[in-house]
């Protein structure tokens, strides 16, 4: 909908018109010069590294810059320039930079998307020994989660299990027992019914695979991607669980109708606004949730179904771009960014639940999280790494859009699953 501001096709005075076109030309020239400037990408000097990472606030940016400074402290003469974009834009920008061969030297990667972006990274496996990094200092699920075809693409900095966030104040007001380890899907539905009042729903269902997967895992023990790495959702396990899940909206009326295909953040927002008493989220959202909500936020493990309580874990890390001029220096920088000091700092600041086991305590120490530790330990113990495929963006995008009519009762769960399964080969 961009169009020029040319007004009506009426004749203007010639002198004014030529003046305007000159001004326009000058403007265009200025725009050209501006375009030639900041284009991101690799840095000129070998000791100046660029690091591309997503962020959502200035506090986050400050924390990442603090960690970048640690690289300069460890490698005198080396500077790390921090570049950032919002979460969704990060992936678009990473894609377009990769297409033009101008990636940053250090790239950030989420485990779910690792298979899709694997070609961008220099494998780190044969550098670990020289860097003095031992894999067993990291949580094994996320260390393995950043491997594609057995090659380590990035070193993890954070990780976490998907868990239930609940409105503790609402639970207490309704006289309900607080959800703890061992609570079941039936307990969950009972609580959702009791918490649904006018203007508030007991639960906010999610139109992402992330939100449904813990229920499928707990009910049937099956994930979205099988042991062989193939997408496998068009089966009875997914069908029955998603029909139950959609029923929370359509039959039970204890979950809000999904608002739109573009609203993957709706669950978090509606929960924080107090419009839904329970939603699923990860520990990476917990500190912000506690600071934002005007009620007490509690966390609980995923409710146990026929296969027990099982959730997924995922996380993110930093790796070396194939376009980095000095991969060894970049690898040393990555080692610092994911090192014990950086992890302790990020944990204490509440920026990350550290992927390094020994530093996880800093997350509890630095933030007032109450009983979070038992829930986190239980959930991590009862979790599987979130496996994805190289076409995960297509799979996820299709699910996100088709889940809306399927869960709102305008279309069938069968159609959703066959549409998603059709993305397996693309």
């Amino acid at each position: 909908m961009v169009r020029s501001l040319t007004l009506a096709p009426h004749r203007a005075a010639l002198s004014r018109r030529s003046l305007l076109s000159c001004a326009g030309g000058a403007g265009a020239l200025a725009a050209l010069t501006a375009c030639g400037g900041d284009s991101g990408g690799s840095s000129g000097s070998d000791t100046d590294l660029t690091w591309f990472m997503w962020s959502a606030s200035t506090e986050e940016v400050d924390a990442w810059k603090h960690v970048a400074q640690m690289v300069t402290d460890a490698e005198p003469g080396t500077t790390v320039t921090f570049q950032t974009a919002a979460w969704n834009d990060y992936w678009t920008k990473l894609t377009s930079q990769a297409a033009s061969g101008a990636s940053a030297d250090l790239l950030s990667m989420q485990s779910l998307r690792a298979p899709q972006f694997a070609e961008l990274f220099v494998p780190l496996d044969d550098k670990l020994e020289a860097l003095g990094i031992s894999s067993d200092t990291f949580e094994s699920s996320i260390f393995d989660g950043l491997k594609v075809d057995g090659k380590l693409l990035a070193l993890p900095y954070d990780f976490g299990p998907y868990i239930v966030f609940y409105n503790k104040t609402a639970f207490q007001e309704a006289g309900l027992p607080l959800p703890v380890e061992g609570w079941t899907t039936d307990d969950f539905v009972t609580a959702a019914r009791a918490l649904t009042t006018s203007g508030r729903y007991g639960f906010f269902a999610n139109n992402t695979i992330d939100g449904a997967l813990p229920f499928v895992l707990s009910e049937t023990g099956r994930a979205a991607v099988d042991e062989g790495g193939e997408l496998d959702v068009e089966n009875d396990a997914w069908r029955s669980t998603l029909e139950w899940y959609a029923g929370l909206i359509t039959r039970e009326g204890v979950a809000a109708p999904l608002p739109s295909g573009g609203s993957s953040a709706a669950a978090t927002n509606q929960f924080l606004a107090g419009n839904a008493a329970m939603s699923l989220d990860g520990p990476w959202s917990l500190i912000n949730a506690k600071a934002t909500a005007d009620f007490e936020v509690g966390i609980a493990p995923v409710p146990a179904g026929s296969s027990g309580s099982t959730t997924w874990t995922a996380g993110s890390g930093f790796g070396v771009s194939r376009s980095a001029p000095d991969p060894d220096l970049a690898a040393r920088a990555v080692a610092v960014l994911t090192g014990a000091d950086a992890e302790a700092y990020l944990g204490e600041q509440g920026r990350a639940f550290p992927a390094r086991v020994a530093q996880q305590q800093s997350w509890y120490d630095g933030n007032d999280l109450g009983d979070a530790r038992t829930v986190m330990d239980y959930s991590i113990e009862n979790s599987v790494p979130y496996r994805t495929t190289a076409s995960w963006t297509q799979v996820n995008d299709t699910y996100t859009r088709y889940a809306v009519p399927a869960f709102n009762g305008d279309a069938s769960v069968d159609e959703l699953l066959s549409r998603v399964q059709a993305q397996a080969g693309s």
Partner: protein, 311 residues
């Protein structure tokens, strides 16, 4: 840019030959045109040609391209259901949006065209949506249209019946996208029509009045034909921009629910930047270009029948 060095002002007592005039002006023109032409070459012509070349390749973001000939186009027109849906959605949007936009902007322009009080302020007021960023408008519309949003809660408290789930329903999503587009887009055409209405010679309207024509007849048989060049201009631009609809559905609905608001440009974006198929996305772009060119050409041919340039 080097200014023209040849003397363009002839000396006294000597007439400039036509050749000299041409040469002198040519250099000056070159000087003025070069910045724009360079920009056009670098940022318009080159990408346009590059995308044409890319559309004949399987061109992934990562990895090397392979030539597929017409493969992308064949896929689009034979096996790709989403493309067919995107074409239909785009056409539906155009058919709903363009007439509503023209009627709304013309209606409001006519309403503020007599010398009513505060007319200039109305013009500014109506133009504000056109200059506010689409993404911001879309976020506001999301808040209005979402369940428990302003529309829903107002309807519930007034009538006891909630509003439909506009953005989450396959039926209502396209009308919601059209609604936002009209709100955002009518101000521009309103200015065009408003300026054209001011240029209608009063004596023609007076003559018609003396001849006994009523208000209805005066408007449709005298004023409207005089506005036809402006209507043509507005329709061509509105039609072109409506074929390129993207931001509205990207922010409001993400192309969903299902594929119900996936437009051609939305599909182009998804193919290129989410699914990493740059060659395929280029093919979509070229098909869209041909669509727009054909529709615009038809309009230009058709204008002879209804656009009157003589007053």
């Amino acid at each position: 840019m080097a200014a023209a060095t040849a003397p363009v002002v002839p000396g006294p007592g000597r007439r400039r030959t036509p050749e000299e005039v041409r040469r002198g002006d040519g250099k000056a023109a070159l000087g003025f045109l070069t910045p724009g032409a360079l920009g056009f070459l670098a940022f318009t012509l080159f990408p346009v040609l590059a995308s044409l070349v890319m559309s004949f390749f399987d061109w992934p973001v990562l990895g090397s391209p392979t030539f597929t000939g017409l493969g992308n186009y064949v896929e689009l027109f034979t096996t790709d259901d989403t493309f067919r849906t995107a074409v239909l959605n785009t056409l539906l949007f155009v058919v709903l949006y363009v007439p509503v936009n023209i009627v709304v902007s013309m209606g409001l322009a006519v309403w503020i065209s007599p010398r009513i009080k505060g007319r200039r302020y109305y013009r500014v007021l109506f133009f504000i949506p056109a200059v506010t960023p689409m993404v911001g408008n879309a976020v506001v519309f999301t808040l209005l249209l979402t369940p428990n949003g302003l529309v829903d809660s107002t309807m519930t408290s007034l009538f006891g019946v909630g509003a439909p789930n506009f953005l989450g329903s396959s039926t209502w999503a396209i009308p919601a996208v059209v609604l936002l587009s009209v709100w955002q887009g009518f101000g521009y055409n309103l200015l065009v029509f408003s300026a054209a209405l001011d240029a209608v010679p009063p004596h023609l309207v007076e003559a018609a009045e003396i001849d006994g024509a009523g208000a209805f007849r005066r408007f449709f048989h005298v004023v409207l034909p005089l506005l036809s060049p402006s209507i043509f201009f507005a329709t061509v631009l509105t039609l072109i921009s409506s074929f390129q609809v993207f931001t509205q559905s990207y922010v409001l609905t993400g192309g969903g629910p299902g594929n119900s608001t996936t437009t051609l440009v939305m599909y182009l974006y998804q193919s290129g930047f989410q699914f990493f198929r740059l060659g395929f996305a280029s093919a979509v772009a070229w098909v869209l270009f041909v669509f727009i060119m054909v529709v615009t050409a038809v309009q230009f041919i058709g204008q002879k029948r209804w656009v009157h340039y003589d007053q």
